[in-house]
């Protein structure tokens, strides 16, 4: 594809535009091309037809149409008009006032973009990139210019437009009027900000609840992450491998399943609750529902994030610094306190803020374990899905949630940016890392042991829960009943028949994951390459935009997609594509990060060498960059696949009867109290994913900095 792009290049886009207007059905669900639709009364399509014809004529006659001054005007006008008419005339007539006057026939309205309109948009974007490249954008590299313009367009449409649409919904009152009043009313409501629980017995507002939960989860996860990281990196603790495996588990654990396990253990009729109640003669309560339960589940889930952040910082500390301290006569405790600890502080801050963001964005655990403890993400969900559909309320809550996560995200970026003590340099930094002092080590062990036991308990429930009659009542007789309910099938003369209730969602999930993973990886790596290697006007804003999409919670994405994509011109709600697109743009930053990190290790003069030998941007990417960053590509691919299988917060809004996802199905089972079925299904999901992660571990291996291990040397 890249090669075709390079060779035919310039003429392809005007040609594609003609195809879009004269050969493809213009509207969604329609059959007629733009020309015919125009004759049928949709006269606002004629300007596009005219522009396409003019551009084609220019491309055929001018020596180089891309440099022609008229080309810029045609392409620009074409894009603007495509969007204006699309957004200006909705399903039931004009939505922008001018259109009704200009085109009386617009009262009949128009449907959303179909294949023709989409292809026309892509062709115009391609042509715009050509025009810009001819004017020196991206050093004249056409492929890079196309990538930049294309990604900016995609991010605008699938990240920023929905968010803007959602934010604007917060300003619209129930009767449809637009003003500041509904926004201010919604955003200052007492059920957001009430601090009743701190002062008296009453309940707190959701914002306060979310913040309390976020801070507690952040602190606990960071502390545990630090303890784990110290044990793994700096001691001869025997269970290191085990800890590493343990840290991967939450990544592949579907949501709800931890929540369910906690209910099975600590619920009112829970195993541990019952034991304790009997032993001490206390009446069992529903204490675990609410803050304690959510906190338990979140700490279990987010500690690995903190662990990985802190571990990489710990491994990046130049051992010579600690050696210097030791040679100056410092005891181990002093070295730890005066050298190691200050060097770790930025990583601790980063770990805290990241887990804080994750906690705020988390939806799966609060929905299962929250009880009456409302947090922002669940409140948003119920505002849209609950008894009364109230998009304005959901929007206002989303604005608050988004502000919190974005603020935390930028704080984290600044902190890491300003105070990171990068001690990995190109120079040799051979030396032995200092083992932690015994006091610190035993404190870490004391913190980690309960965590490990708890994790074991939870995963033991998960492991056996799906395959015994009733885990909740300790009826441990083995059965395949739950599995069969979900995945029963028959082989008849008409072939394989799938009866199980879960097949539909399982197949959709596999499709969506398999479709979105390569796209996610591709866009992520391409973006990384643009940021790391290309210079173009507006690069800083581009970087800022891609970074920002890190910080948008899944719940907010889900609501924003509902707000933006259930009306023309982009009405894709209820399709498989909305799920795929949602995953691509949510997970793309991870591929991007992996790509940027990998590219930082590669001397860019190799790419320049390829260029001077005649390779265009796409060829450079294929011949030189991609082969050298294979591990990052693989990581991004597997991550994208796994996340698409376990994500819930955004998809819960986007699934439909026809395209249901595994996680949404599991949530339904949990709500019905069918815990065993939920667990059985989760186990199957995990088995699929474990295969992937095993592949990833095998292919990528552990990060090595080429240092001798002090433990091995002892």
């Amino acid at each position: 594809m890249i090669a075709a792009f390079e060779s035919r290049g310039g003429l392809a886009w005007p040609g594609l535009l003609l195809v879009a207007l004269f050969a493809l059905p213009w509207f969604k669900g329609g059959a007629s091309v733009a020309m015919v639709e125009g004759l049928d009364g949709k006269v606002w399509l004629f300007p596009l037809v005219g522009i396409a014809a003019a551009l084609a004529a220019l491309a055929l006659t001018a020596r180089d149409w891309r440099a022609h001054p008229l080309a810029a005007a045609l392409v620009g006008t074409g894009l603007v008009w495509l969007l204006l008419q699309g957004f200006g005339i909705g399903l039931r007539g004009p939505t922008l006032p001018g259109f009704g006057v200009l085109f009386p026939s617009a009262v009949e309205g128009q449907r959303g973009f179909g294949l023709g309109a989409w292809v026309a948009g892509i062709a115009l974007i391609g042509a715009l990139a050509e025009v810009l490249a001819a004017r020196g954008f991206c050093r004249g590299e056409r492929f890079a210019a196309f990538a930049v313009v294309g990604i900016v367009a995609a991010l605008s449409l699938f990240v920023f437009f929905p968010i803007l649409k959602l934010v604007s919904a917060a300003f619209i009152a129930r009767d449809g009027t637009v003003s500041l009043v509904p926004f201010l009313t919604r955003i200052t409501a007492p059920d957001l900000w009430s601090t009743g629980c701190l002062t008296g017995g009453r309940r707190c507002g959701v914002v306060i609840n979310s913040m309390v939960l976020g801070v507690l989860a952040g602190v606990l996860a960071t502390a545990l992450g630090l303890a784990l990281a110290l044990l793994v990196a700096r001691t001869d603790f025997r269970m290191k491998r085990l800890l590493r495996v343990l840290s991967i588990l939450p990544i592949i654990t579907p949501p709800f399943v931890v929540g369910v396990a906690i209910i099975v253990l600590f619920g009112r009729t829970g195993l541990i609750t019952a034991e304790v109640a009997q032993a001490f003669g206390i009446r069992p309560t529903r204490w675990v529902y609410g803050l304690p339960g959510i906190l338990m589940a979140q700490v279990l889930a987010f500690t690995p994030v903190a662990f990985l952040v802190i571990l990489s910082a710990l491994e990046a500390i130049n051992p010579t610094l600690e050696e210097a301290s030791t040679t100056l006569g410092a005891r181990p405790v002093t070295t730890f306190r005066t050298v190691t600890w200050p060097l770790l502080r930025p990583a601790l801050a980063a770990a805290f803020l990241l887990t804080f963001i994750e906690s705020l964005a988390d939806f799966g655990n609060p929905i299962v374990l929250g009880g009456s403890y409302d947090v922002l993400s669940t409140k948003i969900f119920f505002a849209v899905v609950g008894a009364q559909y109230d998009l304005g309320q959901a929007a206002a809550l989303s604005v608050v949630l988004l502000s919190l996560t974005v603020a935390a995200f930028f704080l984290q970026q600044r902190w890491v940016g300003r105070a990171s003590y990068v001690t990995v340099t190109g120079k040799s930094d051979a030396g032995l890392t200092a083992p932690v002092p015994p006091v610190v080590k035993w404190a870490a062990v004391a913190a980690v042991v309960p965590f490990v036991l708890f994790t074991f308990g939870v995963y033991l429930i998960v492991l056996i829960g799906g395959f015994v009659t009733d885990i909740g009542r300790m009826d441990l007789s083995p059965t395949a009943r739950h599995l069969w309910t979900a995945f029963s099938f028959e082989i008849t003369e008409r072939g394989l028949q799938l009866f199980g209730s879960a097949w539909n969602s399982m197949i959709t999930t596999l499709w969506v994951s398999a479709l979105s993973a390569p796209l996610t990886m591709g866009i992520g790596i391409l973006t990384a390459w643009l940021i790391a290697r290309q210079d173009f006007a507006g690069k800083r804003a581009f970087e800022f935009g891609t970074l920002l999409s890190f910080a948008i919670p899944g719940t907010v994405v889900g609501v924003s997609y509902i707000a933006a994509f259930n009306v023309p011109p982009v009405d894709i709600t209820g399709t498989l594509w909305i799920l795929v697109i949602c995953f691509v743009f949510r997970n793309m930053p991870v591929g991007m990060r992996a790509g940027i990190a990998a590219l930082a290790q590669i001397d860019r003069s190799m790419e320049e060498a390829s260029q001077t030998m005649g390779a265009g941007g796409g060829r450079v990417l294929r011949d030189v960059v991609l082969p050298l960053i294979k591990p990052a590509i693989f990581t991004a691919l597997v991550y994208a696949f796994v996340t698409a299988m376990t994500a819930v917060s955004a998809v819960i809004f986007l699934v439909s009867a026809r395209h249901n996802m595994a996680t949404a199905y599991i949530m339904g089972r949990v709500e019905n109290g069918e815990y065993a079925l939920a667990i059985a299904y989760s186990t199957v999901l995990m088995l699929v994913m474990i295969a992937c992660v095993a592949l990833m571990n095998w292919a990528v291996g552990r990060r090595k900095l080429g240092r001798r291990s002090s433990m091995a040397a002892e």
Partner: protein
């Protein structure tokens, strides 16, 4: 083809508000080896990258073989480049590295490889076709890089500090190999270095750059013997700069009076350290001395300031504190300001 191989017309390159190259005019003849020389940050590497197409000029034009390429990306130009780090593709064999360019430019794989073999034989790497770059020595990698750059008979071959990763002992040899290849193929070459000795040894002409502008262009002998200004005098080799006055054909500075033709007024003279002789006795005092093997260098305090003097080892040595007088060779006095 007649006319210059490369031409810069009022070329400016800015990065944001910083100006890396500030309006350069330059022509390079076919078959010439021209070196861009200057301290770091002078714009020499940027100028080289402007020829390669790895940067596009903010203003002005770059012409290669008479064609304006100012808006052409690197891939659309016919240049070969040898990078400081060699930039060999680590995942391709030596043969594939060298055949890469011809393949990209549309040749059949077999043809491209035949051509690559030919060039590899020429640079003396005949037996190493299947090795990966990591399996070669530094010197061998360098030759692969050169072979890769010349295989397509480029309009110009560009060297970006090609010797900085070569062992000090090998530098002279590699430098001579590069020069021999360039002469043999009649290649136009542009060479960037910050090492003035390397520049003097390898170049037909040297372009000395300072703060994004050309300070002086000339043959190595021009620059060394007739520096145009104090910056050049100081940058190319060592120089003693003496400030004084010229009146009626006589240059005077404290404790110093020398014949010098030219207009009256304030003047700065440049004198090379090896063009000053030392005689025992006088009002100069030896303040320091270094033994350099083939020569001895003295720092001598005089009324006109501290002078650097370099004498062959065959002459009798002076000790620190000795009183000496300085004899200036009148033919070696260059007025630089």
């Amino acid at each position: 083809m007649t006319g210059p191989a490369i031409e810069f017309r009022r070329v400016v390159k800015r990065y944001g508000s910083a100006t890396a190259v500030g309006g350069i005019d330059l022509t390079i003849a076919k078959g010439e080896l021209v070196t861009f020389l200057g301290p770091s940050g002078c714009g020499k590497t940027t100028s080289l990258r402007l020829i390669a197409g790895l940067e596009l000029p903010s203003e002005g034009q770059v012409l290669i073989a008479g064609r304006d390429v100012s808006r052409d990306p690197a891939s659309a130009r016919n240049v070969g480049m040898v990078f400081q780090s060699y930039a060999l593709f680590p995942h391709m064999s030596v043969l594939d590295n060298v055949a890469y360019g011809p393949v990209i430019r549309g040749q059949k794989r077999a043809e491209a490889q035949a051509k690559a073999r030919e060039i590899l034989d020429l640079v003396g790497l005949g037996g190493l076709h299947d090795r990966l770059p990591a399996e070669l020595s530094g010197g061998q990698q360098q030759r692969v890089a050169v072979a890769r750059a010349i295989v397509q008979q480029p309009d110009v071959i560009l060297f970006d500090e090609p010797l900085s990763n070569v062992d000090a002992k090998l530098r002279r040899k590699v430098r001579e190999e590069i020069r021999a290849l360039q002469r043999r193929f009649g290649l136009t070459a542009v060479y960037v270095t910050h090492d003035q000795e390397e520049a003097l040894a390898v170049s037909d002409r040297i372009v000395v750059m300072d703060k994004g502008r050309i300070a002086q262009i000339g043959t190595p002998a021009d620059l060394y013997e007739r520096p145009a200004n104090p910056f050049i005098a100081n940058f190319i080799g060592d120089a003693n700069l003496i400030s004084g006055q010229v009146a009626g054909g006589i240059f005077t500075a404290p404790g110093l009076s020398l014949p010098l033709a030219g207009p009256d007024g304030a003047a700065t003279l440049s004198v090379r350290p090896e063009r000053i002789a030392l005689v025992p006795g006088g009002d100069g005092r030896v303040a320091g001395s270094s033994y350099l093997g083939s020569r001895r260098e003295y720092e001598v305090e005089t009324a006109a300031g501290e002078m650097l003097v370099s004498r062959p080892i065959t002459e009798p040595a002076f000790g620190i504190g000795d009183a000496v007088s300085l004899n200036y060779d009148p033919a070696a006095l260059i007025r630089v300001a």
